[in-house]
Each structure stands twice: as structure tokens, then as C-alpha cells.
């Protein structure tokens, strides 16, 4: 073990010489957080609205005003028939058609049911779903207002139920609050996985591994000498990312920082194990890059960063049991948003300890085989 500090120092020297890698380590957290959090926003604004008002009453006018008064809808035209309005959707000028039937006001006064039609352009299904949701809320609000104005006959109660959602842990349903912990998780994962997988291959490509192999350095020392520097870098990048998240978005860690770092410490060992395993089974830096990229993308898509993991098929759920990124994204969100304690994440923690052991044992074994 006496050679270990020297190997680590050599590793840091090499990293500090790398004119691309070093700035990247600190630029990546800032850029990724900014780009992904601002650009990959699911909030929908500027829904182009077309109205087909066949009623032309003050009641229908009030409904239309309700729509245009909101931030989300822009009235781009009104037509006499649905067919004409549809042409606007065809031309991509409109996202939503609101059709108000003839005699709506009269029917409502008679307390008869009325159907208002919403036609949505679902080419972008996410936008359509959100626009539909907004529309329903507006119609609902308009309906409630109407009852307030009416003097109902005695014994008749307004037929409305007021439903209010309350979102816990992210009370304003802020997309950034939700995304930032996940993006930090991905960031740290990508950096450490790529750095470690490329590193050993580089030693092999440059031939330097030959010199190390004829030295008294043991395989265990060698792997450890690779893991420790990148482990430290992972810890630093996460810390830097947390500071950036606070400065840019005011997001703080609700739970204990200690729990977060304890999990991160084990998680990094697992990810570095995967990186080193990849580097032992590949021959060139390119191969290692592609395989690491492939693994990360699969893990990432299944991780629940962008889509809820509960809705994926059974086989993918089983696959996901072995996805370290999924556990980390979950834990990051639990600790940062929900303030979960160590007891809450103990299951995740144990699984990660398992991963760390399995991947690294595989890495050391595989390294022994390849270096004969």
C-alpha cells in the first residue's frame, strides 16, 4: 500500500495537465443545470386559441374572456363554423378550438346540461394534455362564477364541488425544483463514469500499463489508485453543483447533507466500478466511450429523471432494479426535496453497497484476466 499515495498524486497531476478536462469539470455543472433546467421546462405558454361562438351571448363572451385573460392562451381568431376553425389547426396556426354551442345561455338558464367542445392539436401531445388541463380549469372556474351570480331557487344547491390540489414537497409544482436534484445526479454519474472508463484504457493505449505491471504495484493498489482520485472529483463536483443550484435557483437540501454525502460516497464507488469494468473489457478509448455512453443512456432513460418510473412495463421494472442511476435520482429527490432521513433511504443505501461490492469485485477480476 506504500505506492498508493504516489499513484494518486500522479493521477491528480495528469488531470491538472488536461486542458480540456479540468475546465469541463466546473463548466459542466453550471451549463447543464442552466440549460436543462431552463430549456427542458414542461410549462406550456402561448397556446393559440380559436373560438367558434355559435351562442353569441354575454355568457359565452364571459367564457371567452376568461380564456384570454389567462396567461396561457392567445386568441388568434374566431370563426363561424368548426370546419373553418379546423383549417387553422391544419395550418398550425391554432392549438386549441373552443366550440360554444348555439343557445348555450338559454339552456343554462333552464338548468339544462350544455356541452362545450374543445378540439386540440395533439401533434405535441404533452402540450395538448397541458392545454386541455388548463382549459378544464378555466371552464370549471367560469362555471363556479356563474353560480355565484345566480339566485337559485330555495332548496337547490349549486352542483359544483370545489377540488383543490395541494402539492407536497414542491408546493408550487416548480419544474426546476423537481429537475435540479436529478440533473445533479446525472452530472456526477456521467463525469465519473466517463473519466474512469477512459483512464485505464489510456494507460493501455499509451503503453504505460506495461511499466506499471512490471513494478511491485499490486492490482488492488492499481484499481484503488484509479478509484480514489475520481471519487474525490465526484464529491467535489457534487458540492460545486449544490452551490450552483442554490445560487441559480435557490434550491437547498431539505434533508441532512451528511446522509446525502454518505449515499453519494457509496454510489460513486459503484459507478467507478462500472467504469473500470468497461475499461477492462474494451481495447480503445473510443470503444470505452461508446459503451459507457450506451449504458448511461439506457440507465438514464429508465432512471425516472424525465418520466415517472411507475408507468414502465414489468420487464423494464426488473431491469431497473439493477439501475444505479434510478436509485440515486430517487435518493437525491427524497433528500433534497422531501428531507428524507437515513432511515427512509436505508433500502436504497443497502442496494448501493451491494452494487459497489459486486461491480468492483468484477472489475478487479476482469482486470487480472486482461493483464495476464
Amino acid at each position: 500500500m506504500r505506492a498508493l499515495p504516489h499513484i494518486i498524486r500522479k493521477e491528480f497531476r495528469q488531470i491538472s495537465r488536461n486542458k480540456v478536462m479540468l475546465p469541463l469539470l466546473f463548466l459542466m455543472p453550471i451549463l447543464q443545470l442552466m440549460v436543462l433546467s431552463y430549456a427542458a421546462d414542461f410549462e406550456v405558454k402561448n397556446v393559440n386559441l380559436v373560438v367558434v361562438d355559435l351562442d353569441k351571448s354575454s355568457t359565452s363572451q364571459r367564457l371567452i374572456t376568461k380564456f384570454t385573460a389567462s396567461d396561457y392562451f392567445t386568441l388568434v381568431g374566431s370563426f363561424e363554423s368548426t370546419a373553418l376553425a379546423m383549417q387553422e389547426i391544419e395550418k398550425e396556426n391554432a392549438d386549441l378550438i373552443l366550440c360554444i354551442p348555439k343557445d348555450m345561455a338559454q339552456d343554462l338558464d333552464k338548468l339544462m346540461p350544455v356541452n362545450v367542445q374543445l378540439l386540440l392539436n395533439a401533434v405535441n401531445n404533452q402540450k395538448a394534455a397541458i392545454a386541455s388541463n388548463y382549459s378544464l380549469q378555466i371552464i370549471h372556474a367560469w362555471n363556479t362564477d356563474r353560480f355565484k351570480d345566480m339566485t337559485l331557487p330555495p332548496g337547490v344547491l349549486p352542483l359544483t364541488v370545489d377540488i383543490r390540489d395541494s402539492y407536497w414537497y414542491n408546493s408550487q409544482l416548480n419544474y426546476k425544483t423537481f429537475m435540479v436534484p436529478g440533473i445533479l445526479a446525472i452530472l456526477v454519474t456521467m463525469l465519473t463514469a466517463f473519466l474512469s472508463s477512459i483512464n485505464i484504457i489510456r494507460e493501455r493505449e499509451m503503453g504505460t500499463i506495461e511499466q506499471l505491471n512490471v513494478s511491485p504495484i499490486t492490482k488492488f493498489e492499481f484499481i484503488l489508485g484509479k478509484i480514489i482520485p475520481f471519487w474525490i472529483i465526484g464529491m467535489l463536483v457534487m458540492s460545486f453543483g449544490l452551490v450552483v443550484a442554490y445560487l441559480l435557483f435557490g434550491i437547498t437540501v431539505s434533508g441532512s447533507l451528511f446522509t446525502l454525502y454518505a449515499f453519494l460516497a457509496v454510489y460513486l464507488v459503484a459507478i467507478l466500478g462500472i467504469g473500470i469494468l468497461i475499461s477492462t473489457v474494451t481495447e480503445t478509448q473510443q470503444q470505452a466511450m461508446f459503451i459507457t455512453w450506451f449504458c448511461i443512456v439506457i440507465f438514464l432513460l429508465l432512471s425516472g429523471l424525465f418520466t415517472p418510473v411507475d408507468s414502465i412495463p414489468e420487464w423494464a421494472k426488473i431491469l431497473n432494479l439493477f439501475n444505479p442511476i434510478k436509485y440515486f435520482v430517487e435518493v437525491m429527490r427524497m433528500i433534497m426535496l422531501k428531507g428524507s432521513s437515513f432511515m427512509d433511504i436505508r433500502h436504497h443505501f443497502l442496494v448501493m453497497v451491494g452494487f459497489a461490492i459486486v461491480y468492483n469485485v468484477m472489475a478487479i477480476r476482469s482486470y487480472s484476466k486482461t493483464s495476464g
Binding site: 500522479k10 497531476r13 495528469q14 503503453g207
Partner: protein
Amino acid sequence: MKPAISIQNLSKSYKEVEALKSISFEVKQGELFGLIGPDGAGKSTLFRILTTLTLADSGIVRVMDMDVVQDFREIRNRIGYMPGRFSLYQDLTVAENLEFFATIFGTTIEENYDLIRDIYVQLEPFKTRPAGKLSGGMKQKLALCCALIHKPEVLFLDEPTTGVDPVSRKEFWQMLKRLKNEGIAILVSTPYMDEAALCDRIALVQKGEILSIASPDTINEAFHGTLVAMKSHRMYELLTTLRNHPKVASCYAFGEFLNAALMDGDEDWQSLEMDIRHKGFDDLVAYETTAGIENVFMQLLSQAEA
């Protein structure tokens, strides 16, 4: 005294290729031993087995009287290895490379500075330069320093001067002589015949077999037959003419002359000269010459192939 390296019936195959075919030889302590042979002769494989990087299929291989399989860890502490291609950290400086290789062997530059002083003084002006930015000759010197910094008892150099300029090559061999005087046994491979003459003993290797082992002075005696050096301004035509001549056993180009070996027992080279002159080579220069290592090697090669 036990030999520094002892190899008995060593064989090694890669899938279909037999890299080494039951070879045996010994290198004495403090001896400068050269392995001469073309690319693909099995030299690098032999180095990898001796430096404990690859396992042999069969045979007994001992370095400093230790088994390369059982005592590989101890052997690694006591040998120095310079692989065929430059394999130091190109992004670390000269001083950092040397320091790194000293520390992983649990020593310091100061402790063994005496051994590398002569070489290192030439590198000192470039101390802070990244190793990747050194010239070919300087790279080799640095690699030699790094292989020596832990004071090895046996030094393995796999084609250390390939791709190095002639002046640096000469300097490099002078350093090897000095190291040999320090008592370090050196096994060196080279494709250059002129370097072979600087070794104590040389082994000619071809296709995984040792054709001959002798000192550079006595290896010439292994050549049998008469050798004629010839020159004309139409070299290529002369070469084909000689190769097809019934009196000539073999003919190769050596520098500006062609060396033609006569058939066994034939010493009459003058009649060959006359014959060639009659074939229209008016400017022919011809004289009998003594065989060099290259000639011996070529003869042994053609015999091995026959």
C-alpha cells in the same frame, strides 16, 4: 555464480502461431547479451515472459535464480524493463516521470542517483518539459533512467534504439557498457547488426528459434564458404544476375556492395568475376571479403529455411 537469466526448453504459442519453440540459453551476471532477429522472431514474447507479464506454455524460466511464475513479485522488484515502444507518461514532466517510477519502487531519485547520473545530466535541462515533447533519443534516455532508478539487477531492453538517430544510438550503447561495468546483467534486443558487435554474446533468433549463440568475434567463424563483394552501377541487374548464377549460393545487398556467397567448397571467385564482367558489367568492382554478423545471419537463415 548463478546465471542472471536461465531459460530451459521455453515454448509459447498464441492460438495458431508458435512464438517460441523450445528455446534454451543463459545470461551470466554482468553480461551484455544481445538478441538479434527480424520482426516477429519472438523477441518481444521472450521479454514479456522474462519480465513476468506473460506466462510460458512450458519450460523453466528463472531470473536471478527465481522462478518467473512463483516469485514474480520479488522478480518485479529486482528487474528493470524498457518496452519496445515509449511507455512513460507523456503528460508528466521528465522529473515527475522519474520521481513516480522511483516512488512506486519505494525508493527516491537521490538514493540511486549515482547509477543514472551520466544519463540524467543530459536530461536535466529539460526537467520541466513533458515527456511527450522530448526528441526520440531523449525519450529513450528518460525511459532508461526510469528503468534504472530502483537499481535493478537485470535490465531488459526491447529494441531500445529503434527509431533513434545514429548519434543517440551510439551514446545509448556507451551507457549500456557503463551499466554492465556496474555489474548489471543486460538482455537487449535489436534489429541493427552493428549494435550486435557491441554485445558480449549474441543469439540469432528466427521464427521462435535460436539459430546460434556466440560472441560477436567468434560468430563470424560460423560462416563457411567464400564471400565476394561486388559493385556496379546497375545494381539491381547485378543482383538478379548473381542470384541466378550457378556458382552463387546466395546474394544480398549490404550497403553499397552486394555480398555473394559461393557454393560450398567453391573458392574460385575470380572466375565468377570474369563471368559477370563478360555479361556486360564493365564497371564491376569485386573483391573477396570476410563475413560479418549479417552474413552469418543470412546464411543461417537460408539454411534454416532449406
